[in-house]
Structures are given as structure tokens and as C-alpha cells.
């Protein structure tokens, strides 16, 4: 989750219309905050709770204030502001020309200063959405990620349990493949989990025991693969230990089980696996059932209600 100013500019410079004006020696500075800061209060000299670690955005308001500031007073305030070591960079928006003073301080303290052609409002919005995704907490998972009936499903289970075979069957049935084996999951605000292949630069490969590595996009067509999906269901496959081993598989479905990923709860279904079981159709139904639940239809509860009505009627 480390992002330097240099990396940020390389990734977004063109998109955000950024031009480096000063402080090029500070491109190794780190961006650690998702939010941006409008340093209005700081420029007034109020530096209590100054959010120095954020990208400092100077718009028309700040710029016109700076222009009114005389050199002596401005220098005094800037000395204080640039005393904060964690400043990542400054950006002046709307193609404004920054004051000489700001240029000098940025150059001297090696704090990059950029000019963006975008208006402040647009710039802040675009920057925030980029930082939110780029600095989002993430984890790697061992599993297969597919999208089934529009729902991202993470298939978990030990090596050799049949995750990849299940994905193949799902592909045959017209569902989508995102990644095999190493999945990177990011958490975005609102408990949203986005999954993608951890090494998307390698392409959409999958290992099938007995066959080796196959190229999913070539075999099933480019329309069968996706770059990322929102994970809304986790399915775990477990080798079935037989009827004598005490197990905890859901039989009625009245209890909603969830799995915590990066602190976000995701509905979780566990299937016992034994030879001859059609895992793909189980997964399809699990996905459809989850979609019903997302719409507020809980089949198990409905059924239970009908039973209860009958049993209550029988007593009278």
C-alpha cells in the first residue's frame, strides 16, 4: 500500500493533466492518506491539526489569498508549513500559475509542486477515487474467483479439492473467470470487496491437474474472462469425511453464515465434496439463492413459516 508521489504521477499524471513545476527532487515522498487537504486555514497561519500528510490542493481561493500575501508574512507561514516533514506534494488546479514564493519553497524543500488543468472540484473527485482504490487495504487469497449470474464468487478449499475443475464447468456454462490460485482482494468503503487476479500481467491462466496450465482466454474466448469483480459470496469446498464424522453442513438454511474478509462480512456457504457431485450446478444455485436473499427472499424462512402455520393450526 506504499504509494510515492512519483508512482502517483506516472499512473495518473496524464489523466489528471499534471505538470511538474518545482520540487522534482521529492518524487520519492509518500502518499499515505486517501483524503486531500485544502490548506486554507494553514495559509492563514492556523497550523493546529494541519493534515500535512495529505496531498495539498490549491484552488482559486487559496491562490487569490496567496497573491495578496506580502513576501515577509508569506515566508513566515510557509516556513511553518514546510516544517511538516510528511507533506507529499502540492497541486494548483485550474492551470493557475503558482506564486514565486510557493515555487521557491517547494524547490528548496524538495516537495513536488504540480499544476493541473482540471478545475478543483473535478480534480479532487478524480484524485479521491483513485487514492481510495490505490490505497485500499488488501490481502491475497488462495482460491478461484468467478462471476456467476452477475455475482462474484470466491471458491475456497484445499489444493486438489476441485476448485479449478468447477471453474471450468462454470466457464462451459457461460459464466466468467477472473483468476485462479492467487486472488488479490481490496476493501473499498461500504464493505465492498473487489477481487482480481493477483498477477493480471500474467494473463488468465489456470492449472488443471493432469492437463497442466491452460490459457482460459484463448480456450474459452476473451468474452469469458473479466479483470475484476465484486465478491458477494464465498463458497468453500471440503472433502466429505463420510456420514460418521460429525459435520456442520447447513441443512435448513435458517442461519446465515458469513466469512470476514478484511473486516467485511461476506455470505459463506460450505459444500461437502465427494466423487460424482456436480459442484458447478451447486455453485450456480448458491449464487442464484444469494441473489434472491439480496432481494429479501429467504426460502428457508418462508418454508419454516408455512410449517409453523400448519403446526399452529393443528393444535386447535
Amino acid at each position: 500500500m506504499v504509494l510515492t508521489v512519483g508512482e502517483f504521477v506516472q499512473a495518473q499524471g496524464q489523466y489528471l493533466h499534471l505538470k511538474l513545476l518545482a520540487g522534482g527532487g521529492g518524487l520519492k515522498r509518500r502518499i499515505s492518506a486517501m483524503e486531500v487537504n485544502r490548506p486554507g486555514l494553514a495559509l492563514m497561519g492556523h497550523l493546529e491539526r494541519f493534515r500535512a500528510e495529505r496531498i495539498q490542493v490549491i484552488g482559486r481561493g487559496e491562490e487569490s489569498f496567496l497573491r495578496k500575501l506580502n513576501h515577509g508574512a508569506g515566508g513566515q507561514i510557509f516556513r511553518k508549513i514546510f516544517g511538516f516533514r510528511r507533506l507529499p506534494c502540492f497541486v494548483v488546479t485550474s492551470n493557475l500559475a503558482p506564486s514565486r514564493l510557493l515555487l521557491d519553497f517547494c524547490e528548496r524543500h524538495k516537495v513536488p509542486l504540480f499544476q493541473s488543468a482540471l478545475e478543483t472540484e473535478e480534480f479532487v473527485g478524480e484524485l479521491h477515487s483513485y487514492l481510495e482504490s490505490r490505497l485500499a487495504p488488501f490481502r491475497y487469497f488462495h482460491g478461484v474467483l468467478v462471476e456467476v449470474y452477475g455475482l462474484g464468487v470466491l471458491i475456497c478449499g484445499k489444493s486438489g479439492v476441485g476448485k479449478s475443475e468447477c471453474a471450468l464447468e462454470l466457464l462451459k456454462r457461460g459464466h466468467f473467470f477472473i483468476g485462479d490460485d492467487l486472488i488479490k482482494i481490496k476493501r473499498l468503503p461500504g464493505e465492498i470487496l473487489i477481487g482480481e487476479a493477483a498477477r493480471e500481467d500474467f494473463g488468465s491462466y489456470m492449472e488443471v491437474r493432469g492437463l497442466g496450465v491452460i490459457n482460459v482466454a484463448s480456450l474459452f474466448g476473451i468474452g469469458s474472462v473479466m479483470d475484476s469483480t465484486r465478491i458477494e459470496l464465498v463458497v468453500t469446498f471440503e472433502i466429505w469425511q463420510g456420514p460418521r464424522v460429525k459435520s456442520n453442513y447447513e441443512r435448513v438454511g435458517l442461519t446465515e453464515r458469513t466469512k470476514k474478509i478484511l473486516g467485511a462480512a461476506v455470505p459463506h456457504v460450505t459444500f461437502p465434496v465427494f466423487p460424482g457431485r456436480n459442484l458447478a450446478i451447486l455453485l450456480e444455485v448458491a449464487s442464484l439463492n444469494q441473489r434472491l436473499k439480496n432481494k429479501g427472499v429467504y426460502s428457508a424462512i418462508e418454508f419454516e413459516k408455512k410449517i409453523l402455520e400448519k403446526t399452529a393450526g393443528a393444535k386447535k
Binding site: F141, H142, S159, D180, D181, L182, E207, V213, K260
Partner: protein, 96 residues
């Protein structure tokens, strides 16, 4: 979630010894060795951890010659599994 972290975990660092690094053949050697044991096997490099029984995972580490791998093993036959992995590294994947 898909990996559990036990208390007693065998942990060892290895330097990839062969010129070609963990390519298909060398990765397959490791994965096949790990797959013979009931224990859980994890390889990690640069903060990415993969299942040591999955050839895709191990290859995706893109571990070149001289890079450092951390291997963690836990389960009923962890010591034997670690020995088997050690042997493969000692033999430099029968390459070079």
C-alpha cells in the same frame, strides 16, 4: 480464511539457487514434493503468500535466481515435508 495460522509452524528461509529461478519445472518439483504430505505448505516472497501445493501459485511468485523465499509448513508431517523441500533446494533442482 483459506489459510489457517497454527501455533506450531515450521518456518525457514531459502535462497533460490538455480540460474533459471522458479520456472515451470522447478516449481513443479517443489509442488509435487509438497503435495505428498498432509501438512499445509505456504511459500512467500515480497509479501505475497501462495499455496505450496499449487504450481500456478508458486510460479506466480516469479522468484528469480538469488531471491529469498520464506517457507512455512504446519501439520502432522511438517518436519518430513520441510526436509523434502530442503533436499530440493540443496540439490539446486538438479539443474546447473
Amino acid at each position: 480464511m483459506c489459510s489457517s495460522r497454527g501455533v506450531g509452524v515450521l518456518q525457514k528461509r531459502f535462497i533460490v539457487p538455480n540460474k533459471m529461478g522458479l520456472h515451470a519445472r522447478s516449481a513443479a518439483m517443489l509442488v509435487q514434493a509438497a503435495g505428498r504430505f498432509a501438512s499445509e505448505v505456504r511459500f512467500s516472497k515480497d509479501g505475497i503468500e501462495v499455496n505450496g501445493k499449487s504450481v500456478m501459485g508458486v510460479m506466480m511468485l516469479a522468484a528469480g535466481c538469488g531471491s529469498e523465499l520464506e517457507i512455512r509448513i504446519w501439520g502432522p508431517d511438517e518436519a518430513k515435508a520441510m526436509e523434502a523441500v530442503q533436499r530440493i533446494f540443496d540439490q539446486k533442482f538438479l539443474e546447473d
